[in-house]
Amino acid sequence: MRLSTRFRLTLATLPLAVTLSLFPLGAGAGTIDVVLVKGDSLPDGPGTLYYLKGPALGDSGQLLINALLDTNSFGIQDVAIYRGGVGTPLVSVARTGQVIDGEQLLSTSVSGSAINALDQVAFSAKPDARGSGNGLYLFDDAIGARRLAGPGTPMPDSAGGSILGFLGIGLLNDAGQVVRSANAGAGNALLSVDGATGELETIARTGQPTPDGPGTFANVGLSFSLNDAGQVAFSYNVTEGGVFTDVLTLRADPTASGFDLIEVARSGQPAPGSSGAFVSSGGAVINANGNVLFTAGLDVATTGTPGSVNDSGMYLYDDATGLHEVLSFSGTSGLFRSWQPPRLNAGGQIAFQGTLRGAASSADEAVVLFEEGAARILAREGDLAPGGDGYFWGFGTNSPIALNDAGHVAFRGDLLGVSGSESVLVRAIYRYSEAAGLVEVVRAGDPLLGSTIAGVDFLGNADLNSVGLNASGQIGFSFALEDGRVGAAIWTEGDGGSDPTVAITSPEAGAVLGIDEILVEGIASDDGAVAGVAVNGVAAVLASTGNPDDPAEVTFSAPVALAAGENTLEAVATDDEGNTATRTLVIEYVPAPEPLLCDANGDGAVDRFDVSAIFAARGSNATGPDDPRDANGDGLITVNDGRLCVLQCTNPRCAPTSP
């Protein structure tokens, strides 16, 4: 049984007439499917949604929702994780009080979930029987939720000890591999867990010697990136003699015997493309090809105080060419004076939020797509936003921006000047693609579920593979409505304004009909699929034409009642993207004339032939209430009727109306 609310809303943006952007803004359309909204019943027990975080959107279109519920267990509010998509039921992944592998989950401990293309979900939860540490769990449809590791699980490396609890947020790739930091007692460890077998491996651990230089790893950072091949990019502090000395950016490659660590960059190392050296690095991300992108602080002795960070750069490492500069603040490619952690896709495209150089203040933010050596500004503070209502004011903190391998860039934008207001910020979500340009996905003020959206949010952390943008360009987002409800929804791109086609084949335009109900027939098609056709509001029956050249082509038919006079027939076809096309035509319904009283011979006139017929039939009973001979309606044919009809004659003396 489907428990989520389904709601489809077609959005469209218009091309902008004026823009400061460096590329044309496109027109787009999409549908919004609400997966869960406050008030919906839940699949795993009583209550409803109270608040939510995320959501993350898997590549199959499944939305992962961390939900705070309006029910209580153990004296505090319950939490739960749900998964649902367009046309699929909402599934409970985990919930407070649920027993997994014999352990009951406590409240407030279900968090940090991630979803992969197989719709598996990795999450952490705190079982009541294992102290305060979080366990690591995996959910899939075949087995359900199971515990992979947690407090008490022995560490898999020679340093020994056991896990006290998992930290931060885990990553889950399409191979079912989970990577997560854990408290390993004396320091932290970055662990890899095989979701199928539960086998653990240590990627790096406090106290472990660095692979290519002096020192040992200090505390393990919580920021890392994982690709589907199992490679992990991360940054780590190095300590020697209890003193932090360097910062390392590394890539861990899985092998049959564990992980090989490759130093990508290290403090003090000369920065390529610059006269300076690395001081710090962070925000490392890895793509499907194993390329690692990170940002670094530079010490450029000629431009600043030696030993301090006086420049910054963005660097890419690949196995073929090694390390090279992508952008720097001071270099010839420098357009920026700051940036937030970038994203990297398999095609080498880079997306990030930056502040433009030359701005008088730090308030000249932009969303940038860097490819083939050139930076393209997708949106910039002060630009008129797609749709024309409002100007970009900012793009949020905590990097609400995402990039997928198809080159889609999704980000959150805050607008000012919406509908003439210069003092109210309105939050919106946008998506850029090469084909459609920049389109508005959803914004505060849009109607939804009979209310109005008060706010939207989007998950786009750089080092998470569970973000609000999936591989096909769908966007998952959370929303709050003005009526107090909150929920999560999926936006699916339309077909770029390509509307379906529809034609009415019967009746013909201008037809004059003598019946009060007709079967309207026609044909419709689309470059995707025809979702439905309504004729004057009546859902039509669809049937494929079997046209091999147009597999989406369908015939439709629907009965329509007619009113006397002109009738407008309106056929509205809707495609699977929510686009519509409408065709209308006008026909006329001329009701069959009621039998004319006294018109015994039915020739449309009353004359002596009719009177003669009535006179001849006098003394008999009328055939019924519609017997035209029974002028006075008494059920009898008499001279009374004859005389009444004489007075009704079309011509004087009841002369015939035709020879």
Partner: protein, 216 residues
């Protein structure tokens, strides 16, 4: 009320709820003037005597018309079939000339003792009023053979099929005036007194056209 509306009202009156029917009847009441008084139907001569084997004729006369007209009628005139045998009817042109498509006339003598005669004018009320200027009008002459001794009293059967129409198609209330033919032996046949009615319709009798047997 215009006639088309009147007819629509008539038709609509049938299935309508009672309130609608009342309204229609009220409308009809306004449209159809009721006669000031009943119309008398009688004979000229009112009584007469004929000898057995002789032929007799009598005029059918409507009188006391006042402002009314005779626009149609369907009558079953009864008589003693052992005394008389109806042989024919001729219609006057008071309701129009059938030869000029001004009326339909019909007679049925197939039932002994009954003369079923009907006439339906195709003329307007105004035309009929012009044709019926006086207070009485003779509409037909009935012919009999005297076949048995005795007195044959005339009567009428007024029922749902037999009545008389006046202005606007209204049904006229009728008062019957007695009439009879007495058949005696040839030597005993009474000599009838000419009645006033006969004097009124003498001219009309001259324009009788023909007897038409009901044949459709």
């Amino acid at each position: 009320m215009p006639l088309p509306s009147l007819f629509a009202a008539l038709r609509d009156a049938r299935p309508r709820p009672i309130l609608g029917g009342v309204m229609v009847l009220l409308a009809l009441g306004a449209a159809i003037a009721a006669p000031a008084s009943a119309v008398t139907i009688g004979f000229a001569p009112g009584t007469q005597g004929v000898a057995l084997g002789d032929a007799a004729q009598v005029d059918l006369v409507f009188s006391d018309l006042g402002g009314e007209i005779i626009s149609a009628y369907d009558l079953d005139l009864t008589y003693d079939p052992t005394v008389l045998a109806a042989t024919g009817v001729t219609f006057s042109t008071a309701l129009g000339d059938e030869l000029f498509f001004e009326s339909f006339n019909a007679v049925d003598l197939s039932s002994p003792g009954v003369v079923d005669l009907a006439q339906l004018s195709l003329l307007s009320d105004a035309d009929l009023a012009a044709l019926q200027p006086g207070d009485s009008v003779a509409v037909a002459t009935l012919y009999f053979d005297a076949i048995g001794a005795g007195t044959a009293e005339f009567g009428f059967v007024f029922d749902e099929f037999n009545d008389v129409k006046g202005l606007g198609g209204g049904v006229l209330p009728i008062v019957e005036e007695p009439g009879s033919i007495t058949v005696g032996s040839p030597t005993e046949a009474p000599i009838p007194e000419p009645s006033a009615a006969l004097l009124f319709v003498a001219g009309a009798a001259l324009v009788h056209r023909r007897v038409r047997w009901r044949c459709w």
